[in-house]
Amino acid sequence: MKTVFEYTKGMEESVSTSYCPGCTHGIAHRLIMEVLEEKGVLKDTIGIAPVGCSIAAPRFMKVDMIEAFHGRAPAVASGVRRVHPDKYIFTYQGDGDLTSIGGNEILHAAERGEKFSTFFINNAIYGMTGGQMAPTTLIGQKATTAPMGRYVEKHGMPLKMSEIIAQCECAVFVERVALDTPAHVRQAKKAVQKAFEVQEKRLGFAFVEFLSTCPSNWGVPPAKAPDWLAENMIPYYPLGNFRCPEEVK
């Protein structure tokens, strides 16, 4: 019989993830670990996961990892890179973390063209702390700190992070993908592959934004979360590649 799917060796077998039903963190974890496994570099990888739901990642991903303070993963990764010029290094960050408290750290890692890859999980809300408004929260979307929903006059417009990062000359690979359908998941994996290839070839900073689900804090049933993402997030956060160097096209 032909094997059509095997669970990646990059994830702990004995530990189940603690993410809520319908959350796509698990898919993002698996994609990153699959790519590292396929490259045969799981044992040459160091990951950094900061505060937010992502801080649980080191419990599930089977690579050397450090938990970082809220927003600071890009700075921590920059330090790790200085000590280990040859390893695979990635940060795995949520949207409250990366766009709000860690806005400065991510911007300057991109500015410096740091040779690591950042995987940005954008689910348009604070997850771990319980549904507060993030800089990525959509217009009209309710949050515990925006009980009437986000509106422009009070809260401004949501940040489009991939577009911002793509303005940095040394952020050579920037792509936004989504985790709502099998086809999008396959596209997402290709972006992860390219992000690591950029790092391998020392071309510059690589950034992949995953539009992701948070049914618990959106107040949407888990099964409906992918549809909510497609209907609400993709129109404001268009999918696609913003920058890609010739070498990995």
Partner: protein, 360 residues
């Protein structure tokens, strides 16, 4: 014996750290310590090390966390408001059990403060400026040579105690020049093999290790966090046993005992000579380690002492420790300036005589 050379404090601090094996420096400009990042930018590459100008002190300390977690020997430095910004990272280094050498060149405060010398960051350095149950191992040198020797040793001590080691200097020490004898270069811990052998806990990629390494900034339960804190307390207990350092002077016949550290201790020494010329015998306790604090030194005070005076460039921050050391046995008074203002030896003489009028 190595040649004595005249160096500016901030530059001597860098040489001492590099010779002690530090190879990773992350910094941000702030007066009066900007010569440190400048010197590192000019010289770290020459010895195979690495300098990064961070986006902020927050960026710098978190880069330090990354490099320390990866097994590198890291030096950080800043001045008062910059050190305040780094406190998240100091607390983080402690929960992660990571070594780092921090040079704190204090200026006047609170707030943005003044760029001139101050000791108003005593509590920040000795009480833990960040959140949680932790300590920095803190030394307060008084001469350039002592600073150089402590920084050199501090790189290895941080590794041994798996904790940040802070060298607390007032701004005068960063800016002044004095002759120093620089120690020999130590072999740095660099590269996978050396890091794996010397720091088996470090993140190097799993390689041929049986298990992955995880460094926790957030242990998953109160019990795990308690266990982590108690693990660190073993080092704190060891530090209290082995790292208490101080110097005493003329305690036997002293009518007045001064307690002073850093540059003010030097000004106080001159005041002691001036008072002796006027027939007033004084002694001094000079803490070198300010955490752990040398409380035991107070047991060496002789029978003639009437009063203890804490001489410091802050509004009595160290006096709290002096009172703990005195433990009610003598009255404790204060001679101080704040905000970057300095006292002269004559000021100390005058104020001491005034204090003596009020004690029996």
């Amino acid at each position: 014996m190595a040649e004595k050379i005249l160096m500016k404090g901030n530059e001597a601090f860098c040489e001492a750290a590099m010779r002690g094996g530090a190879r990773f420096y992350f910094g941000y400009p702030i007066t009066p310590q900007s010569e440190i990042p400048e010197y590192m930018a000019a010289h770290m590459d020459e010895i195979g090390g690495c300098f990064v100008q961070a986006e902020s002190e927050l960026g710098a300390v978190n880069m330090g966390i990354g490099a320390a977690a990866a097994g590198g020997n890291v030096m950080l430095s800043s001045s008062s408001p910059g050190i305040a910004l780094m406190q998240e990272g100091m607390s983080g280094l402690c929960v992660c059990h990571l070594p780092i050498l921090l040079v704190s060149v204090s200026r006047g405060g609170p707030g943005i403060g003044d760029i001139r010398p101050s000791q108003a960051d005593y509590r920040q350095a000795t009480r833990g400026g960040g959140n949680g149950d932790y300590h920095l191992i803190t030394f307060a040198p008084t001469t350039m040579q002592e600073a150089v020797d402590l920084i050199y040793e501090g790189v290895a001590l941080a590794d041994e105690y798996r904790n940040p080691v802070c060298i607390l200097c007032d701004a005068m020490m960063g800016q002044m020049m004095e002759a120093v004898e620089l120690p020999e270069h130590k072999e740095p811990v660099m590269g996978d093999a050396a890091i794996r052998a010397y720091k088996p806990w470090a993140l190097t990629g799993q390689g041929d290790r049986a298990e992955k390494n995880r460094i926790h900034a957030m242990p998953w339960s109160p019990e795990e966090l308690q266990e982590s804190n108690l693990e660190q307390k073993v080092y704190y207990d060891k530090a209290e046993k082995n790292l208490v350092r101080y110097e005493t002077r003329d305690l036997e016949d002293a009518e007045v005992v001064f307690v002073s550290y850093g540059t003010p201790a030097r000004i106080t020494t001159e005041a002691m000579e001036m008072l002796k010329a006027e027939g007033i015998n004084t002694g001094m306790i000079r803490p070198i380690s300010v955490w752990p604090y040398p409380y035991a030194a107070f047991d060496e005070i002789g029978p003639k002492t009437k009063v203890i005076i804490s001489v410091e460039l802050s509004l009595g921050q160290m006096m709290e420790d002096v009172k703990l050391g005195a433990n009610g046995r003598w009255p404790v008074k204060l001679i101080s300036r704040t905000g970057g203002v300095l006292f002269s030896s004559q000021d100390i003489v005058d104020e001491t005589k005034e204090i003596l009028k009020g004690v029996k």
